[in-house]
Symmetry: C2
Subunit: 240 residues, 2 copies
């Protein structure tokens, strides 16, 4: 059996370089879109429909869908939720289809659509996701959503964690600089994500918006055992 490849891509802007070489793309937006999607799926939401623009979200909302939209860390006026994971824990959402548009995360998901398999990664479903990936024996790319096409620490560390675990189980990396950096940043931070990320720019951005509870939740690994997967433009629970 040939060894399979794992790499980390810092931003959607860099995806073009990696595109086409990976059977599985893991999209990561720790603060907060992919954490919120994991929460929603864990809560029994039927599907999350990721859309890039507010216009698309509004059209679907007008057709009767519940719709979440976040820009600059805040709920966009007229929408039902933003991307706080807590909004998606309401038992009333069980069985519903929800539309979601966020600054970075849903854009990254839509950019990765060309890949055979797109799954949703975060710290809160880390262990479950990694265990599943280990069994797939496919080339895996961790696609960080970043912040407006800039590098961000929390997504990179999550990607580094996934890469590190897969490498420990027999995957290899061709040592793209982004993958090497992600691994080292994960090693530097793994004893205490919360402390390490206390200075991250997006965490400060959210803190100003009084989103400390969200941050704590999103930075606490292994709280849910779901693997959200993109199928026919909807994110649904993978039956693994």
């Amino acid at each position: 059996m040939d060894k399979k490849l794992v790499e980390v891509c810092f931003t959607p802007d860099d995806y073009e370089y990696f595109k086409g070489r990976f059977e599985i793309v893991v999209v990561i937006d720790v603060l907060r879109a992919t954490s919120a999607i994991c929460s929603a799926i864990d809560n029994g939401v039927s599907s999350v429909i990721p859309v890039s623009t507010l216009e698309e979200a509004r059209i679907l909302q007008s057709k009767g869908y519940l719709a979440g939209a976040e820009r600059q860390g805040q709920i966009v006026e007229g929408f039902d939720f933003g991307n706080s994971p807590y909004s998606y824990m309401d038992p009333k959402l069980k069985g519903k289809d929800i539309v979601l548009s966020t600054t970075n995360g849903t854009r990254a998901i839509n950019i990765a659509k060309d890949a055979p398999v797109v799954v949703i990664g975060s710290l809160i479903n880390l262990e479950t996701l990694v265990n599943w990936l280990k069994k797939q024996d496919k080339n895996v790319l961790c696609l960080c959503s970043g912040w407006k096409d800039n590098f961000n620490l929390e997504d990179t560390i999550c990607g580094g964690a996934i890469a590190d675990e897969l490498i420990a189980s027999g995957y290899f990396t061709s040592n793209e600089d982004s993958s090497v950096a992600a691994k080292y940043l994960y090693h530097s931070s793994s004893h205490n994500y919360f402390g390490f990320l206390k200075s991250s720019s997006h965490r400060r951005r959210l803190k100003k918006l009084n989103l400390n509870e969200d941050i704590k939740y999103c930075l606490t690994p292994n709280q849910v055992e779901v693997i959200p997967i993109l199928q026919n433009d909807k994110i649904v629970p993978l039956d693994y």
Copy 2:
């Protein structure tokens, strides 16, 4: 005296975000443009004229200048040198003005031209440069040249080393994610740049071209005591 700011920018593409807030920009292209420029200035070259395009380099060459040009790690046909630091150590170059165009480094220098002061950083002039920066008491941006607008490890580590030293001497960082990552990557690598970077993609690229001697030279800190500075579109030795 107010504390001054130091940040690290990963690529010329990201410079727009930082632009305008820094009195000094340190341009870094460890493998190999800024290392070669430090070598040339240390060797007594009068000036290095950085140009972005091969066309500009050819025009100046036709006017009698010696001209170096590198693309994809190799000397471009028809030019006098590429960007191997060893090419610039020839005693015959003393007192000459040399034109240089490289894949990443000279582009970064030209992008930073709006800044009040642009100096050239590398591992080979690290200590001299840092000691001078400490005395300036100005806001400092470390601008990594990257590789074709992608993040690279060696420039980031050099930027992290500069930032770390300045912070230790009283500068502050507003903790942009790139600066935090650069500091941690520097800490992870500082015991052994050569070992740490053995897997970097550009090092592998150069290794394939039999440029191991260049790599060793460029990754060995504090070999020269020059600070090349951009003045009237020419890089000249700073009389510090």
